[in-house]
């Protein structure tokens, strides 16, 4: 499977080509080049996936982990900084997710970005992002992951700031980069600790990987040595790395960059800030999961509770936002938190029906997959809407179902999916998560169910606000909204995936037929694991979701919304707080500008100019002053010289005496 290296190289070359030669290419040509390259790597990824999943399993029934390619990029003393490709079920799944969504976004952008200045640059950055994200997921070692992690950060920065003449976009891009960078500091320190104590950065924790030619690709990883050096070392390293993951995956309180990141072009939001980059944190935890579950079981509640709180917080904020992309952004935060929680509640790695604790891992990855599809669809749908009405605000919308029929249908499908209605993909994955939570601790399970209900509520609030509700007729008559086929085509593809996966997994889960399901491909230890729904959990969550949808219908569907207005009137402060995202941004603003800048940086700069530099200037001044004063000895008066000379001679004589 050596061709997998092309999956990384092609987008990189495309980035270089479009970045350097883009100036001389037409919009169409550069878009075509970018899309064509992506089409190729999408096909390559599917081939890889097909080849990987159809290959024979290992003797113990698990999928083999392959390293088709590995090189030492930078020797670091006893350690090596490798670059390579590691294929295991989750990385192969991520390849599919990334290339699929990215391909859709590339096609979609033809319509969405048409005529934008910097079209070539846009496609170049998309290629860069795709390359980095693919590099991240196929990383053979944690340092490679960090390298590409930084690269996706910077491509996200560049793409959020694509409209660089808008101050809001510039601020948002800066914020996204700095916040994630701050979190990455934790990641880096975690890597350093891990690398130092285990003597390797590799993901092959048990040292059983071999290259195709039978050589061992990595420096062996000595986990036991690290454990012997101190039981807290590996958990500390993992927790620090989790901070990095939390930053990338927008976990509270490092989530603040994600809603602002919506200033970027909408396809970018769909690709980076919904489907791929933001799940890097989840992916990282999943990648390190064997370590978590073996050595840091006691620290996993950190993941759970950060996840639970974030899910709740984001869901409640999402209920009050009026910018549709912001609603989707908070919904993303909330859903990623679901994935985190699912990983946190996974308490064992051995799969099988007698090992209930192992569902979480699979559920999380499953949700990652389904969420990527329907959330990308939602974002791209939102993009169509924004493209049609030229506004992000719900005020400009309402009643759009007449003008945008395809968008309407696909949006509704995705909303149903995220709400967890049976026969849509979100149902299967979310249900698994709640099952896993229930198995871990019923309290967590019920909280997550409630949050799932909130999800259904705010998603349908959004849906009704856009497609039903009070229509902004004046605006729509001025400028009739319409949709373009090149933009709706990806929506259709993504919703077909959503429905298809949903129907298949729902039927399989209810035991309609015995076939492969998601768990067959991906599970905590790579074994075949068939999903079966726990009927009580499934029915409970379905009923609750339907109730929430009905409630949202009742409140938001009509032309006038008396109930909603009354609710705002009843709790204006709560609404305001939720609308302002509970003032988390202001807190950060305060910390960075008022404390770090005003009370650390400025004093240091002042100190430097006045105290340290002042000291050296003082030395210079002192020398000058001294010279100035002693120069009067050189008065030019002969008699004074003679007197001094005489005194000097007398003193010398006295000394000789």
């Amino acid at each position: 499977m050596e061709y997998t290296i092309l999956i990384l190289l092609l987008p990189f070359l495309s980035f270089l080509f479009l970045g350097l030669a883009g100036k001389w290419l037409s919009h169409r040509a550069s878009g075509m080049i970018g899309t064509a390259v992506l089409a190729v790597i999408t096909i390559l990824s599917y081939c890889t996936a097909y080849e990987y999943f159809t290959a024979d399993r290992c003797a113990d029934g698990a999928y083999a982990t392959l390293v088709p390619y590995n090189m030492t990029w930078l020797p670091l003393g006893n350690l090596n900084f490798d670059l390579g490709i590691l294929l295991d079920p989750i990385s192969v799944m991520m390849l599919i997710v990334i290339t699929t969504v990215s391909f859709m976004v590339h096609i979609y952008s033809f319509g969405y970005m048409k005529g934008e200045r910097g079209f070539q640059r846009y496609y170049a950055f998309l290629s860069l992002f795709t390359m980095s994200m693919l590099g991240l997921v196929v990383a053979t070692n944690i340092f490679q992951m960090y390298l590409f992690w930084e690269l996706v950060g910077v491509s996200s920065y560049l793409l959020i700031g694509f409209y660089y003449t808008l101050p809001a976009a510039v601020a948002a891009s800066k914020k996204a980069f700095i916040v994630t960078r701050f979190a990455d500091l934790g990641f880096l320190i975690g890597i350093l600790i891990f690398g130092y104590y285990t003597g390797s950065f590799s993901f092959d924790f048990v040292n059983n990987l071999q290259m195709a030619d039978g050589t061992t690709p990595f420096i062996p990883c000595a986990i036991d040595k690290a454990v012997a050096a101190g039981g807290f070392i590996i958990p500390t390293a993992l927790t620090l790395m989790f901070i990095g993951g939390a930053g990338k995956s927008a976990m509270f309180p490092l989530h603040i960059w994600l809603p602002d990141a919506m200033e970027g072009p909408t396809p970018v939001s769909a690709l980076i800030h919904a489907a791929t980059m933001v799940v890097a944190g989840v992916y990282q935890v999943a990648r390190l999961f064997p370590l978590w579950v073996t050595y840091a079981q006691d620290w996993m509640p950190v993941i759970i509770w950060v996840g639970v709180f974030t899910a709740f917080y984001a869901a409640s904020v999402a209920c009050a936002q009026s910018d549709i992309k912001r609603v989707l952004a908070f919904s993303t935060i909330s859903q990623i938190a679901f994935m985190m929680v699912a990983l946190g509640v996974c308490t064992e790695i051995t799969t099988g029906h007698e090992h209930e604790g192992s569902i979480g891992y699979m559920a999380s990855m499953f949700h990652l997959f389904t969420h990527a599809m329907f959330k990308a669809c939602l974002f791209l749908g939102a993009g169509c809407i924004i493209h049609a009405v030229h506004s992000n605000e719900m005020e400009a919308m309402g009643g759009l179902r007449k003008y945008l029929p395809v968008t309407h249908v696909t949006f509704l499908i995705s909303c149903l999916a995220i709400s967890g209605i049976p026969f849509f993909s979100g149902f299967s994955s979310k249900d698994e998560i709640i099952t896993a939570c229930m198995a871990y601790n019923p309290a967590v399970g019920y909280i997550m169910t409630a949050i799932a209900a909130m999800t259904a509520f705010y998603m349908f609030r959004l849906y009704y606000g856009i497609f039903w509700g009070t229509e902004n007729r004046k605006l729509h008559e001025e400028h009739t909204p319409h949709e373009e086929s090149i933009m709706t085509m990806p929506l259709v593809v993504l919703s077909i995936i959503t429905v298809g996966v949903g129907v298949y997994t729902t039927l399989a889960g209810f035991g309609m037929f015995e076939g492969y399901s998601f768990g067959s491909l991906i599970s905590a230890d790579g074994h075949d694991y068939r999903i079966h729904f726990d009927t009580s959990v499934a029915s409970l969550s379905t009923v609750i979701a339907i109730c929430s949808i009905l409630l949202a219908t009742y409140i938001f569907k009509g032309e006038t919304q008396p109930v909603a207005d009354k609710m705002y009137a009843a709790a204006p402060r709560l609404h305001c707080w939720a609308y302002k995202r509970f003032y988390m941004d202001e807190v950060y603003q305060f910390i960075t500008h008022r404390i770090i800048f005003a009370h650390v940086s400025r004093p240091i700069a002042w100190f430097d100019r006045h105290v340290i530099d002042g000291f050296f200037n003082f030395l210079a001044w002192g020398t000058h002053a001294l010279s100035f004063n002693i120069r009067t000895l050189q008065s030019g008066r002969v008699q004074q010289y003679a007197l001094v000379f005489l005194i000097g001679v007398l003193i010398l004589i006295l000394m000789i005496l």
């Binding site: 990029w73 020797p75 003449t165 960078r181 130092y196 530099d613 050296f616």
Partner: protein, 507 residues
Amino acid sequence: MNFLSLFVLIPLLMLFSLWLAKGQKGIRTVMVVGSSALLALAVALTVKFISDRAGGAAEEMLYTASFVWFEPLHISYSVGVDGISVVMLLLSGVIVFTGTFVSWDMCKEYFLWFTLLSMGVFGFFISIDLFMMFMFYEIALIPMYLLIGVWGSGHKEYSAMKLTLMLMGASAFLMLGIFGIFYGAGGQTMNVVDIANHTGGAQIIEFSKQCIWFPFTFVGFGVLGAMFPFHTWSPDGHASAPTAVSMLHAGVLMKLGGYGCFRVAIYLLPEAANELSWIFLILTATGVVYGALSACVQTDLKYLNAYSSVSHCGMVLFAILMLTTTASTGAILQMLSHGLMTALFFAVIGMIYHRAHTRDIRQLNGLMRIVPFLSVAFAIAGLANLGLPGLSGFVAEMTIFVGSFENADTFHRVFTIMATTSIVVAAVYILRMIGKILYGVNLNPEHAKLHDAHWEERFAVICLIVCIAGIGLAPGWLSDVISDSVAPVIDNVKSVGHLLSQSNPFK
């Protein structure tokens, strides 16, 4: 005559030809030919060095030659290179080459001093005699005064004076240190390798003497390496210097500091390095964070970059003091990387200043639309500065951090973690700067019609970017070359003692 001496002879020839050259065209021809020859020589040396090392040449210094120069004081003209000097020579070659293109419109006298400065720099890196090193160091320093004082901008006389006085003060320390080492080792040889290996009549320097001369030597070179708190010449000096001089100064001259600290202070005084490194480690780690935080609130682009240099160069000395092979390799990589990226940064800032006549962040907006080439170069320089993977900064910083982590005690851990925070702060100030000056909409009508870079400027900038990206994408060979040469020094240090000294109260 050893072929390494060409590094000194070519600038001498250039000086002579410049003297004879007539007209701007003649001057440019001389400069381009000369600096290309230097660059070619540096590249050839690198290739030859790598192939010779691969062919089994295992001496510490290759291509050594020695001619007695002043018998009574045992001063000889000794040259020789190891991997560290090779990469430093390569760096100097690149910077001098690009610097020539950046200062395209300057006059003959400027180029005379510029070439003299280059000669000092090249001479310093090929010397392995303490006195020759010191002499070339001084040769490199003096032209700086004139280059800044005459062709600078702003408070140029003040800055030039300050820079020269502080560096001269440092070289006074350095001279004491060098003579201390010379006499401490028995006063029989000034050859660095001999003193380090106790050959050629050199004795082991007593521990107590080492502890006296180590601070002198380290501070002497450290001032040039912008060691906190002796860095204040750097912001003023860089802000006032003409573009190419800033490049050469930050890109190469400051590297003399780090190189000297490693080659003289650490190499020749290993026991004292073990014993006293903690003091300087505190200073440099402070400097790393301090420089970065100061940079956050600067409003002048050059000041900002100068403080960022304080931070990055602090990282060099910090890594050297960690006294592990990996960290020291990282330090050399960082020197290389910082040299290139800060040269790029200063070059682009200079070009922007040349056009917009201001370096105030608050007065520049929306340059991306007006001068796209410069803006992209600026952004790349910024991203390299904040350690973006794929560019050189990342490689160097990661090597340093991994190397620093090899010291497992709390003291070193705490300071390592402190130093890592600088990469976050770097992101803050770089993005703040990029956001303010490149992005947004231009509000100043005077800036609306700025023209983008000329061909020679483009050429220089592209050369630097290619080097930065080259190191960033394929750092392995460099790292090998460097770590082979770093290892003997560090082994020397490790063999005489343990890093946790008795005098460190924080251990």
